[in-house]
Assembly symmetry: C2
Homo-oligomer: 189 residues x 2
């Protein structure tokens, strides 16, 4: 998606060789109109797949999942982190490791909102090592739902998560795929 | 907002006398089209206030903040919880107490996305004791921004947060205001 690549180049900031800050439009401040365009694009790529639900994980996946769900006309479910005291026991859970926060975290979804009759599109803001996506795939699997694929805003290809999951047969569509990056240069595929 | 009240009555579940679960359309699963209607309604209530930014806090405030920002045509900023390793030091922060999770948590926003030139509308999914809202007001204050008010999806009036903040002069608009509730009955104002 050309406009996204341009925004990454003009507003993004690379820290070291692995962290890309795009907090001006994606994961701290949100540009709502652009979020709508990205949701439309992800929805278009998975049109005709019979998707019944979008699945993401809190927090920064919610915005693009919402606009994708708006475009496809289906509900959005966001997996929660930790276990809230108001949560009942009928949940599917998975453990993921956050490289950003350097800690393991449990994500879960209620069995009311994900089940065997669902065809699921996973949506997230980033795909790097693939930890969050692997956890979300596990939730889809535990729920007995069908997976249509995963729609990602920015894939950091050099961190390998996407390749490993594509090898397992997961269809992944990324709006911007970064081959390599440094403080001087971001190279897209 | 009549449709919201109906949804609370038909899909909500009261646990004890203080917890309202509305996870089928608001804070676990999201109904995107309805979220758009609620955003439009909050935007309409604050039209003409010259709002330049929406402020919310992750995670379940993001969806309604996004649709409100879409309707008003302004950026949405979501305050983060904890301190991510990729965050720099130029932040405003506040400490809030979560009654749901029974712990204090720091919320923060980058000074790049909130400043003296802003007129801010705070948006959140719930207003109960007012802890989150107080923290967000503190961020607006520290940033030297002007506050237009707060737009809330569901206010649990009996928990007193709204009254205390209105007394301080904060304009609060709630789409559904619950006067009292029990497992048998939800009474709106």
């Amino acid at each position: 998606m050309q406009k996204l690549k341009q925004k990454i180049l003009s507003e993004g900031r690379v820290i070291g060789n692995s962290v890309l800050k795009v907090d001006s439009f994606l994961n701290h401040q949100i540009d709502p109109k652009f979020m709508l365009e990205m949701g439309n694009e992800l929805a278009a790529r998975f049109a005709g797949e019979g998707i019944t639900r979008i699945l993401t994980v809190e927090a920064s996946g919610i915005a693009v999942a919402l606009t994708t769900g708006l475009s496809l006309g289906v509900p959005v479910v966001f997996a929660k982190k930790g276990r809230a005291s108001t949560q009942n026991n009928n949940i599917y859970s998975a453990r993921i490791y956050s490289f950003t926060r350097q800690e393991a975290v449990d994500i879960f979804v209620s069995d009311k909102f994900l089940g065997p009759r669902d065809t699921v599109l996973i949506v997230d803001d980033f795909l790097a090592h693939g930890e969050a996506l692997r956890g979300l795939l596990e939730l889809v699997d535990r729920a007995g739902a069908r997976l249509a694929g995963a729609g990602i805003v920015i894939e950091k290809v050099f961190q390998g998560g996407g390749a490993a999951l594509r090898e397992r047969g997961v269809r992944i569509e990324s709006l911007a795929a970064i081959k390599s990056m440094s403080e001087e240069c971001v190279e897209f595929i």
